[in-house]
Symmetry: C2
Subunit: 339 residues, 2 copies
Amino acid sequence: MADDVTLGEVARKSGVSMAAASRALNSKDGVRPEVRDRVRLVAEALGYRPNRAARNLAGGRSSVVGFVVGSGELRLDSYGASLVQSMARAADAHDEGLMLLMDSKEPNVAVQNLIGDGLIDGVIVSAVAIGERWVEELLDARVPTVLVGEHPRRSDVSVVNVENCESSAQIVGHLLDTGCRSVATVTGPMTRVDASLRLQGYRLAHERRGLEIDERMIFHSDFDRRSGYELTETVVACGADGVFGSNDEMSLGLMRGFGERGIKMPDDIAIAGFDGTSETEQGVPALTTVLQPFQEIANTAIETLLRLMEDSDPPPLEQLVIPEIFFGETTRNPQPGEG
Amino acid sequence: MADDVTLGEVARKSGVSMAAASRALNSKDGVRPEVRDRVRLVAEALGYRPNRAARNLAGGRSSVVGFVVGSGELRLDSYGASLVQSMARAADAHDEGLMLLMDSKEPNVAVQNLIGDGLIDGVIVSAVAIGERWVEELLDARVPTVLVGEHPRRSDVSVVNVENCESSAQIVGHLLDTGCRSVATVTGPMTRVDASLRLQGYRLAHERRGLEIDERMIFHSDFDRRSGYELTETVVACGADGVFGSNDEMSLGLMRGFGERGIKMPDDIAIAGFDGTSETEQGVPALTTVLQPFQEIANTAIETLLRLMEDSDPPPLEQLVIPEIFFGETTRNPQPGEG
DNA sequence: TGCTTTCATGGAAGCGCTTCCAACGCAAGG
DNA sequence: CCTTGCGTTGGAAGCGCTTCCATGAAAGCA
């Protein structure tokens, strides 16, 4: 292990000062390209790795971002797991560390850690946690923060958002256009912006086709798999021949319920979801769903956060990411014999 | 935000030197209790938070541990998700940061990051990744490392391990003792120690009861849900009236398969798994399974790692954690009318 | 050619903390 | 009463890096 090569050594062996070496390695200008390359070569040859602590101390950046997945007793569902994974990858690609923050008992303490310790320079907050009160404390404390999803009460925040409404309209439209006469929906908590936008998409799809909505076809639930499962009976009873579960967890719950009752998908009931985690595609049957572009979301979030931290008083950035639809086996194909 | 209280200020306001203040706050001796308390009071009043970067730089510790969940294209399954969650909690409780390391493209680079950057002081490697070659590089590089699960090829490593064999024997025994005449098993990859120990437990249970094992009842698979599902037909065909899926993912796959075929659990086939993630308990029906004590595993792992880092040349520590069995709805109850 | 401007460069001051070491005060022992 | 020794204390030297600033050389201009 040669983990004790310091900048000083690199500088000496390249015949320049530490200052120059530092600039060379950090792509700052004020160094001739020639010198820059030489220093870099030497650094590589020596296996130099900058000491992050020192860099942080001197430079004020820690090169680590926090990722808040949830708080309290929340479990890491498939959405969360997918996002975590993509975020880890994105952070890595941007040469940032990713520090996971889940359910510290006291949000305040978490906030304190984040801000005070200088351990991380910014935070990404997943949709799951956005509603929490302590997130607002974070925002108020002016910690560089990027939300993955909109905040229900404030718009002065940087956000990476997946397009919820139109995508939902598309997939519900797909159900309606492939033979479903009456499509029900199971929504997430209406306190969450994404959930209500997806419901809005559901309405929009009907509107566009001049279809009236039967409000009794709208079931409110909580994004949880079990809750989906428990709604099976109700959904079956309402006579729908199509369901839009506004996330995959609930849809998977419904699918299990349907399966147990011998209800065939898509023939008896077609079903579509929203999220597209690995479980969805690997599932049986494969669920037709709106694919969250997790990797793109994660990359965008990291990049947005980095940009946020460069500025001292940055304007909130809002990014929209467009998902695609995955046509699985739980809905009929668009145009069976070409339309 | 008053995030710029430094040790110097605390020291000044308590009327001592920085040296004394540092010692006071870090519970080192060489400070009168009286002074210590005063400093602490002042520190608290001022809302002092030590700057981790500085502490790290000066002290050589970063107070962050890495957690390697997987590498490559591995998805975060329910086991991984549960472990991540518990680990985050454990780290938090020990006042350590948790840095998530998943699938960096190049293991070597990951290793480099870990060691060189001084960003983290140690690593915990989840069972999922233990087999990978780069883990050995890590170990060879003498990075403080704790494995969650045994290493297939070396024993000179610190390990937190869940008891696999006996627990499996117990739960298979439960199947055998509650009416199953012939219990099949679906195993994980035999390259993994945990998988082969669970198989061993399966054998043990039979042995203890003087039952011969039909080797055709042993199906080798890969811990993946889909693979479980795909074995449904085979398992049904083999005539077993009980199955031990050696993890929950596969068991859930099987359950879905059984469900679709109208096979009732536990009456037609009883099934038991191994892991006990939140999905298991919330599932329908609830799967009888060996509950990994995730929180205990995580705490032990963190503590072991911390102890490892204190010593300069520490002996490998091996910790065994005993799981409990959760009796769900997929097996018959132990003694229906008292035995 | 003599001036100013530009730019690469190195010196050196910290960033906030830990820890070595010397200094000091005090109690016990001679 | 003076010495020895212990335990508490503060001074100060870094940890490895970034960055401000002064320097000097090269280049541009008249």
